[in-house]
């Protein structure tokens, strides 16, 4: 008995998906891939495990303690894919660097991480995403954000916010106010965790001007529409580089054309966990979910790791988080309900032929496995959750509605 009990357990952080949830997840995945493909993104697939060297950038950036690592038969270290951006960057560097550029690629698949805070408690997560490589303009930043907005909208979520920031703004502001590099790092970490209490304590102790302190403490308030950018500009000391704000202004203007600015909040205190981001960053949030549903940004220096210097931008959405939220909001996609086809001792040929026609037409059809009486078929069809019964008695077909009476 205890042996059986051990055999039916599964590890922490992974889960089975049963009908209909698994089907609903697949449907969401298809919906998202269809949107990606309509925007010109072509699907690629990469291995579930690769050499750990390929993920060095990830490993250095805080994933170090959260990747699954194991040796291959020669003792070389492999990791289970913790992220898609690096494998796609490798694919682009190897296969697409010669052009034509830019390259638009999309993917969908599992990533594996020992549970880290920003992803809930799951260790296996399905992600779908896009990478747009070879273009460094605000136009590609905006395209990716608009695409994320369309995905979240089409999945039926009832409320969501994409918060948009730029990693350069904080960096430039803090450096311009003479913070030491290690203090810049600490302040950024506190902004990342949105621990404004510790931030205030730390900033009040820094040896910088009162004006600098006040400016830093204003940053959490820099949230809102495009008008926030003017306020942000006013916080920068004279001579500081305002390019991040200019880029955000350009992105906003393209997002206006896409008519998605109502979903976007500029948040200049946003810092993404991964250090490989170099420009615009964004995250999608919805009610009641304590971590982002989707996120992405620009990472112009990452491809250099694979010997190919191309600007790039991308985002990924977590299907599992989406599924959790849609379940809670009762907005999961509906699946087709089945038809049940049964037959008597001389009706099987007719029944199978009818089922095949209906299946070709796109219906979901369950054919009974042995002959039955009409009453048995009615009962069995109802148990299977079918909406309609086709009962073949010889050459005759009885068509019955299983929710209501016989037609």
């Amino acid at each position: 008995m205890t042996e059986v009990l051990q055999r039916i357990q599964i590890p922490e952080g992974v889960r089975d998906l049963l009908p209909d949830l698994a089907g609903q997840k697949r449907k969401l995945e298809e919906l998202i891939q269809q949107i990606f493909s309509r925007w010109g993104y072509r699907e690629v697939s990469t291995p579930a495990f690769e050499y750990s060297d390929n993920f060095m950038t990830d490993l250095k950036d805080g994933l170090e303690n959260s990747v699954y690592r194991f040796p291959d038969e020669q003792g070389r270290m492999l990791v289970l894919r913790p992220d898609f951006t690096l494998p796609i960057a490798r694919v682009v560097a190897v296969h697409f660097a010669e052009g034509p550029l830019p390259v638009r690629l999309c993917y969908s698949g599992e990533i594996f991480r020992y549970a880290a805070g920003l992803q809930g408690k799951q260790r296996e997560l399905t992600q779908a995403g896009v990478e747009l490589m070879g273009d460094g303009t605000a136009g590609s930043d905006a395209e990716v954000i608009a695409l994320a907005a369309e995905v979240l909208q089409k999945t039926g979520l009832d409320e969501f916010t994409l918060c948009l920031g730029h990693v350069g703004f904080l960096e430039i502001l803090l450096t311009a106010y003479d913070l030491l590099p290690q203090d810049v790092e600490k302040v950024k970490q506190l902004f990342n965790k949105k621990d404004f209490v510790t931030l205030k304590e730390m900033v009040s102790k820094l040896k910088i001007s009162r004006q600098a302190k006040e400016s830093i403490m204003q940053i959490p308030l820099l949230r809102g529409g495009v008008e926030i950018l003017d306020k942000a500009q006013a916080l920068l000391p004279p001579g500081a580089d305002a390019q991040p704000l200019e880029i955000l202004r350009e992105i906003w203007s393209v997002l206006e054309d896409y008519m998605v600015t109502q979903f976007v909040t500029i948040d200049l205190s946003m810092v993404r966990m991964m250090n490989y981001y170099t420009g615009m960053v964004f995250e999608g949030y919805t009610n009641g979910l304590g971590y982002p549903l989707c996120g992405g940004g620009r990472y112009d220096r990452l491809l250099a790791n694979f010997g190919c210097e191309l600007p790039a931008v991308g985002f990924a959405v977590s299907l599992d988080h989406l599924l959790t939220v849609l379940t809670r909001q009762r907005k999961l996609p509906e699946l087709l309900e089945p038809l049940f086809v049964a037959y008597n001792d001389s009706g099987r040929e007719k029944a199978v032929a009818a089922a095949q026609i209906l299946r070709r037409q796109g219906a979901v059809v369950i054919v009974d496995l042995q002959e039955s009486t009409y009453e048995e078929a009615f009962k069995s069809g109802t148990e299977k959750g079918a909406t309609r019964l086709l009962y073949c008695a010889g050459e005759d077909i009885i068509d019955a509605d299983l929710d209501g009476g016989q037609e």
Partner: protein, 223 residues
């Protein structure tokens, strides 16, 4: 049940900290009178303000906020620190000020029973473990749920880690405060999703509370 999207739900801790919390919210311009008048109820709705308050056990507040059934919560730093949940810490409300300290019997000199391991009794096993780990001390943590002062008196533990406000309880039990591990106050915390999706309401509330705090203690002078 999740409140509608245009409502803001705030989880408050029952007990000692509740009256000063309500006082602060009132000073910030939020009408809390329905809560003060009847504290057996657990959910209070302020229809005009579209605010919902839930009253919960202090240690459960981070959980309510983490799962998003409350957008915001008011909870002691000790509990946040012990549970290490991914919540945003928006404001120090300066309420319920006390300290988390290590204490032992007066006159005690040996803390390892002649060996290398110190027995530490506490309600805060994670904080205690991290604290002693950082100091390189080998400890065995004994988790208790209350009357921690009993543990050294009965030789269950060599040291206790517990909240101290006036120090009276320690003195009455012939214990001395050996080390202040952290200063504790109540904090306003947010669920990251709510912080983003309900940005305007959250920011307005934070600013209202901040103003009330400034009026109370001239807070920003130290910046």
């Amino acid at each position: 049940m999740l409140a509608a999207n245009d409502w803001l739900t705030i989880a408050l801790a029952k007990g000692r900290i509740l009256p000063p919390t309500l006082e602060l919210f009132t000073a910030a311009g939020i009408n809390c009178s329905p809560i003060e008048s009847d504290t057996r109820k657990l959910i209070f709705r302020l229809e005009t303000e579209k605010l919902q308050f839930i009253l919960a056990k202090p240690t459960d507040i981070p959980t309510y906020v983490e799962y998003g059934v409350a957008d915001l919560g008011v909870v002691g730093k000790d509990i946040l620190w012990e549970q290490e949940k991914e919540l945003y810490e928006l404001l120090d409300l300066k309420l319920g000020a006390c300290r988390l300290s290590a204490a032992h019997k007066a006159g005690q000199t040996d803390f390892t029973r002649g060996g290398t391991v110190t027995y530490v009794a506490t309600k805060y096993p994670n904080i205690a473990k991290r604290h002693y780990l950082k100091k390189g001390r080998q400890v065995e943590i004994i988790k208790l749920h209350g009357s921690i002062e009993l543990a050294p008196l009965l030789n269950l533990a060599d040291v206790i880690v517990d909240l101290v406000s006036t120090g009276k309880t320690l003195r009455e039990n012939n214990l001395v405060e050996a080390e202040v591990i952290a200063r504790i106050t109540a904090r306003l915390v947010a669920n990251p999703g709510s912080y983003q999706v309900k940005a305007k309401r959250v920011m307005t509330l934070v600013q209202q509370l901040e103003k009330a705090l400034q009026k109370r203690c001239g807070d920003d002078k130290n910046l």
